[in-house]
């Protein structure tokens, strides 16, 4: 009877496509919205993805990674003195302006690394050498910077090209991969000393973060707790800082409400379209279902057939919808200007939502079938 149910479903091409379309549309809206949200959120903690270190030490008032409050340079030594800290290095991170070849300027995110260790350097250098960053007036730019800062040059920026940051020469010695930032500025890496002495206007306090690592046998969380307790500074593990950043954006921006609305609309539209179409499908098949009931099909079997039809439609629509979203995601990532991040939670969550929609849709049909009198078949 299961095969019969599927044949009844697939046989009506138009209705079948309508049902699939409803679920596909709902899946696209939900998965796309959620991936957009996760993509945007991932942009907010891009520095944490680019600089993968155990512990970030910051001003105690810092809540998220893009809003650093400068520290005194001496805080590096205070952190280093905490028991369980194996190493601690300074990091500068801030927005600046790069002067382009056509005379205009562009926003950049400048990252200053400890020149002796280069801890916090981008993990993937696609051209050039990381060590060359120790040469005078040198920077490593990310691939996005190649695109953004090439205006007026007539060709893409490359190794050996020179541009200006704060009226100081910046010679490119490497190109790296990096995750996009929320502000949209490409990442430019240089040494900490050069960043604070040349590329950024002088201020009393210039240190953005202290990056630290634990001694053997000490977990990053333990070390962060010790730093907080002994120095009064803020200290986060990478995960803690990421969630702190995400929640800050959730609390302080309209992003979750806007994207949440998209996801909710997708769910409501999907439920409405699928429920209504499936119910119409059941109504149109009522006479056939009545005939099956008259011929001796029990209600449980009919309900099972409806659930099977509904789940089949749901899973196919889900698969198609997710495929479309994955394709859109690939395009978005290729273009690089649209936030998109599909973690495993999104397909899993959308699958749950689709299963809920299917259950609801089949429930509508089941209620109808359960009350269906087999004598309906004798009425003309």
């Amino acid at each position: 009877m299961n095969r019969l149910a599927l044949r009844m479903l697939f046989g009506d091409h138009a209705k079948y496509l309508m049902l699939i379309s409803g679920i596909t549309f709902a899946t696209i809206l939900m998965a796309q919205g959620a991936s957009l949200f996760c993509g945007l959120m991932s942009w907010t903690f891009a520095p944490l993805r680019n600089i993968n270190v155990p512990v970030w030490v910051a001003d105690p008032r810092v809540e998220q990674v893009n809003d650093n409050k400068p520290l005194r340079d001496t805080e590096v030594n205070r952190v280093l003195s905490v028991n369980g800290v194996a190493w601690a290095v300074p990091l500068y991170q801030g927005n600046s302006q790069a002067l382009l070849f056509n005379g205009t300027s562009k926003l950049i995110t400048l990252v200053g690394l400890d020149s002796s260790t280069l801890i916090g350097a981008p993990p993937v250098i696609v051209a050039g050498r990381l060590e060359d960053l120790r040469l005078p007036n040198t920077v490593i730019i990310d691939e996005y910077a190649v695109e953004r800062l090439s205006e007026g040059l007539g060709r893409p920026l490359g190794i050996g090209d020179v541009f200006e940051i704060n009226d100081h020469e910046a010679r490119i010695v490497g190109i790296c991969e990096s995750f996009r930032s929320f502000t949209g500025g490409p990442f430019i890496y240089t040494t900490y000393a050069r960043a604070v002495s040349e590329y950024v206007p002088p201020q009393r306090k210039m240190l953005s973060y202290v990056l630290a690592g634990p001694s053997p046998g000490v977990t990053p969380a333990e070390m962060a707790a010790r730093i907080r307790a002994e120095t009064g500074l803020g200290a986060f593990t990478g995960q803690e800082f990421m969630w702190s950043t995400v929640w800050w954006y959730v609390r302080n921006t309209g992003i979750p409400i806007n994207v949440g609305t998209i996801v909710m609309i997708g769910f409501i539209i999907g439920t409405a379209i699928s429920g209504q179409t499936f119910y119409a499908f059941v109504l149109e098949n009522l006479r056939n279902l009545g005939a099956l009931k008259a011929m001796g099909t029990d209600t449980a079997t009919l309900c099972r057939m409806l659930v099977l039809q509904s789940l089949t439609v749901g899973l196919i629509g889900y698969g198609v919808g997710l495929g479309v979203v994955a394709l859109l995601g690939r395009i978005a990532l290729h273009i690089g200007k649209v936030p998109f991040l599909m973690t495993w939670h999104i397909p899993a969550g959308v699958l749950c939502a689709v299963l809920f929609i299917c259950t609801l849709a089949s429930l509508l049909g089941i209620l109808k079938v359960a009350r269906l009198e087999p004598a309906i078949v004798f009425r003309s």
Binding site: R3, D12, D298, T299, T301, P374, F378
Partner: protein, 251 residues
């Protein structure tokens, strides 16, 4: 599947079914429509019993009750030795699955299934394998003159051919009771004739009872006996084909 229980109140041969004192009304108490009033009806093994009468006289209601698809308000219903009134819904479903073949006025073929799949439905409901069901269905389709059309959709067949598919479906599981609701009313005269020929020859079996509800006088001559209904009651039973011919001379 558990063994099917034996009849709880066997009827004396050759009686196949007996309905006594059946009442049935529809609608709310303040606007009740009485369909059957103290109706008695019986049919025998091996015969084609026709139930005739004007529209709205209660024929289809009576047919629905004796087929176990509609509950009576009152009365005793004994079909093939089983007291339907005492059965639960699930027992009634099993009873219909095993004992009854249906032929409907509007054929009620499932349009998205192929012809052979439609015929195989009663076997599939009984749990037969798809292969067995297919071979039995195709063999029966060949018998009713539809060999070679097994894989077509019902929508591609004429009305007469569709009703032949419905006949094959009604007989494929060899039911002892065949109920036919206006089997020719949606067909032209020639197709109706062919369908009744098929029912008259193919469905006739000494161990099978065929009940035909109709108000089509063109097919009265196929009946062995005839019960006439009016206003929810059986008004007359014509006991032989000769009596039927005499009462309805046009046929």
């Amino acid at each position: 599947m558990p063994p099917y229980p034996p009849p709880d109140q066997p009827l004396p041969a050759p009686v196949a079914l007996r309905l006594a004192g059946i009442d049935k009304a529809f609608g709310p108490p303040e606007a009740r429509t009485v369909a059957l009033r103290q109706t008695d009806f019986d049919a025998r093994l091996g015969e084609i019993m026709m139930l005739v009468g004007p529209s709205g006289c209660g024929k289809t209601t009576l047919l629905s009750i004796l087929a176990g698809t509609l509950a009576a308000d009152a009365g005793d219903i004994n079909v093939l030795g089983y007291r339907l009134g005492a059965m639960s819904q699930s027992a009634l479903t099993r009873f219909r699955r095993r004992h009854i073949g249906f032929i409907f006025q509007q054929f009620n073929l499932i349009p998205t299934l192929s012809v052979w799949e439609n015929v195989a439905v009663p076997l599939l409901i009984q749990g037969a394998s798809r292969g067995d069901a297919q071979s039995q269905a195709c063999a029966l389709l060949a018998s009713v003159g539809l060999g070679g059309r097994e894989y077509e959709r019902p929508g591609r067949l004429s009305g007469g051919q569709q009703q032949r598919v419905a006949i094959a479906r009604a007989l494929v599981h060899r039911p002892p009771l065949l109920v036919c609701d206006e089997p020719t009313s949606a067909l032209d005269s020639h197709s109706g004739q062919q369908v009744m020929d098929l029912i008259g020859t193919f469905a006739r079996d000494p161990l099978r009872t065929v009940i035909v509800v109709t108000h089509d006088p063109r097919i009265y001559r196929y009946a062995d006996r005839m019960s006439e209904m009016e206003d929810g009651r059986i008004t007359r039973v014509l006991a032989t084909p000769a009596d039927i011919a005499a009462a309805h001379p046009l046929n």
